[in-house]
Structure formats: structure tokens, C-alpha cells
Point group: C2
Chain length 253, copies 2
């Protein structure tokens, strides 16, 4: 009999941001494979018989190779075990979920995904920033501050438009590049930018700045990962900038 | 002594998608004001002394007016009570949180936000759709299918670009408009579209279609709210379309 793969979103790392469903699935797991940022609080719910293994990656280290991990998951499932794969945040966001799902598809095993609190929303809660707001912010975008290839990056200038709040994951090292790209694209210098370190956890820190000071304040405050950057471009700010530019154009005419 | 306002994200409505933190805050609340889509499972955690009140709005009915609700929250907090405001999904997304926070700011009362599982991510989990994917989908956008003014709408064509997965909240009635706007903007006819009704809950239903059939299949399957629409535009699809257009241009030259 084949087993089951359960990808579990554990939230940003605070034990009490686990959902009840996550807790119940952890209790039933034969094998628990956990990532670096999920914390340790889930351990109290694990069965004493469970096989528990750390499979996380730290930035810079090679960590457990994804291919080897996929093979390990498949072997456990093929042997009839229920595998709980604990991921930080939500499994469908920046979680390499597709690759782990593919690894067991050929086994025709049961797959379950347990959604979790994604780090960007924990950051918004901790800093009391609403990521949508009537007549001001209509869309919320989750994107990454880094990419697989060093010379490629998401098109940040197209992402941060009037009416958008954007959350950047893993963006600390790229703060200067995010700043210069957005300013070159005309995002106002005073667009609010907020860093939240260790969102959802007791050691949370909130650093509030603006786009023109983003790189400076990131460095001066020694912001370090895991941290989420929230950049907001409300409609009222876009209108104020248009009005200023119209006045400037009239003055110089 | 002033009380406290706690905005609590209860997830998409399934009782077991409450976080442990949400459960603990509900247990301590003197007053519980709850929305329509939070379900009923949280009741088992409420204190028997708590004042409990439904303050939800159904589409079309006037519901509890926001201004009256804000005043009610402020009165309870001013009287020293701990108010748990239960919201579906995450409180910072389409939750009118800013207005309720403003209502108690003048009281200098404590405010806490408890993040929750947002419905779009529960929909992604239920349908086993990864909303980001290495080299295919770099950004995930949450937006709304309707707006405060009937004649205004978010600029969907600018949102759904190569590398983006977009989640539309409250989009059932606008499916035809979403389809025609995106197709007119050049989003490929075969871009995958997925409806998830009652995400995270036992009665979940998944309807999979493509952009060119979106309006038809929404109607034919009688998709109804609450439902999330996921539209994906992976890079590989954009490349395939470019290649086809180049061949077509060469053929007609």
C-alpha cells in the first residue's frame, strides 16, 4: 500500500501560528521532514515513533539537494508511510512544492496540501499595515527579491504600480536594486517601505522608511533575513505626484 | 482602563484552519464580533461569558453598516473590554481592517492583528496549484473581481503578465469581463484558469478551465461565491505564444 505526502504550511515560524489542521497532520505522520524556518514548536505534536529529519537549506550552504530530497520523499511514500513535509509560510509560495509533488505523482499516492499563514501577511499584521485598502490599494503582490539566475530579476517596475502593495521575500541583499529600479520607473520617492524581521515571532522588528531612503536605512538598521519588505504605492500618492508634476511643468513653461 | 481590539484572521471558514493563536485569543475575548464567512466552529472556544454578535454582510444586503460597527467596537474598547473581531481569511486583505483600526486609534488602546490563512492560498492548496514556480511563476497577485464603484475596476490587464499567478476574490459575476479584458490584452487563450469554491472546507469544488472558456464554464458549472479564481500566465506559455506569432508573421509575409 502506498503512503501519503502531506505538504504542511507552518506559517512564519511562531509555534502558535500553526493551524489546528497542521497540528493534527503532524500528530499522524510517520515521517517528518522539516525546513529551516519552521521553528521547533511543532515537535511537541510529533509522535514519539516518527522519523524526524532536518532537510533545510541556509542561504549560501548547499543544504540538502532537492533531487535527493525528492527521492527520499518518494521512497517513504512507496513504503507506505505518511510523510509530513513541513514548510515555512504557505507551501504554494516559494516552497518548491511542485517538485516534491511531481516526485510522488508516479506512485499514484494521496497528496494533501495544508495551507499556512504566509510570511508577508504575518509581516503586515505585526506592523499593522493593511495590504489592501478601499480606494487606495486594490492588489497585493507577493514576489521575490532574488531569482534563480543572478542576472535575471522579476520585473519589479511593472509590479509596483498605483494601487499596489508589494511584498518582497528574501530582498535584504537587493534593497539597493529594488530602490533604484522602482525610482527609475517613477515610483514616488516617498512611497512607504516597511521591513519586518522575524514576522509573527517574539523577536519581531519593524523598520519603517521610504523608497528614497530604502537602501540607506536597510544598511543603517542592519536588517537581516528572514525579513519581508512591504512597498506601498497608494492611488492618493500617485495623484499627488501627478499634480506636482503638472505644476512643475506649468512653472517651467 | 481601556480595553483591546484584536482583529483575528480565521482563514477561509474551516474550523481546523484556525491558528492556535486565533483559538487562544478567542478564549480570552469579552466581546466577539464575527463575519459571515468565518463559519461556526470557533464557538467552541468562546468563553460562556462572552458577548457574541453577528456583524456580517451578505452580498446585496446592507448588512451592519461599517460606521455603526466602528462605533460599537470603540464603545466596547473604551469600556475596558477585549474585543475579538473575527474576519474570514487574513484581516489585512479585503477586510476593511484600516477602518476598524482607525476607530480605536484615538482611544490609545492596544491593537493586535492575528494573521490568517487567506482564501486564495487555501484555494491553491485544495486544487494543488503552486502559485509560484521556479522559472515559470515569479509573482503571485491577489486582487478583486469587483470594486467600490461599478464603473471602475482594477487594471486586470496590467496585473496578469508573464510570470504571474493572479487570484481574483469575488469574481464570479465578473468572469466574462475578466476574460474579455485579459484576452484583449493578449493573455493566451489557453492560460489555465481554476475556480475553487468553498476553499479549505469539506464542500470544496474545483472547476478547471482556460481563459477562452472561462465565462462559458463559469456559467455552465454554476460557480457561485465564495469562490476564488486562479489565473496563471507562466513564462513558458508566453514563449510559446511569441514563437507561434513569429511563425504566423513569417507565413503571411
Amino acid at each position: 500500500m502506498t503512503g501519503k505526502l502531506i505538504l504542511i504550511g507552518c506559517g512564519p515560524g511562531a509555534g502558535d501560528l500553526l493551524t489546528l489542521r497542521a497540528v493534527r497532520r503532524i500528530q499522524c505522520a510517520d515521517v517528518i521532514l522539516y525546513d529551516r524556518l519552521v521553528g521547533e514548536d511543532w515537535r511537541e505534536f510529533a509522535s514519539s515513533d516518527a522519523i524526524i529529519k532536518y532537510v533545510g537549506k541556509a542561504p549560501g550552504d548547499g543544504g540538502v539537494q532537492q533531487a535527493a530530497l525528492n527521492a527520499e520523499i518518494a521512497a517513504h511514500v512507496a513504503a507506505g508511510r505518511t510523510v509530513a513535509r513541513l514548510k515555512s509560510g504557505d507551501p504554494m509560495i516559494f516552497g518548491r512544492a511542485a517538485e516534491e509533488i511531481s516526485a510522488v505523482l508516479a506512485l499514484e499516492a494521496e497528496i494533501e496540501i495544508v495551507p499556512g499563514v504566509t510570511s508577508a501577511l504575518a509581516a503586515a499584521s505585526d506592523s499593522i499595515i493593511t495590504v489592501t485598502e478601499r480606494a487606495e490599494l486594490q492588489s497585493f503582490v507577493v514576489t521575490t527579491g532574488r531569482t534563480a539566475k543572478a542576472d535575471e530579476q522579476p520585473d519589479w517596475a511593472k509590479i509596483v504600480k498605483p494601487g499596489v502593495c508589494a511584498a518582497f521575500y528574501m530582498g535584504v541583499a537587493q534593497a539597493w536594486k529594488i530602490q533604484s529600479t522602482l525610482m527609475a520607473a517613477g515610483v514616488p520617492f516617498n512611497a512607504p517601505c516597511d521591513w519586518v524581521e522575524r514576522a509573527g515571532q517574539p523577536g519581531m522588528r519593524h523598520v519603517s522608511t521610504t523608497l528614497s531612503r530604502l537602501a540607506h536605512d536597510t544598511h543603517a538598521n542592519q536588517v537581516s533575513n528572514p525579513a519581508i519588505l512591504l512597498v506601498r504605492y497608494p492611488y492618493s500618492l500617485a495623484k499627488a505626484v501627478s499634480a506636482e508634476r503638472a505644476i512643475a511643468a506649468a512653472d517651467s513653461a
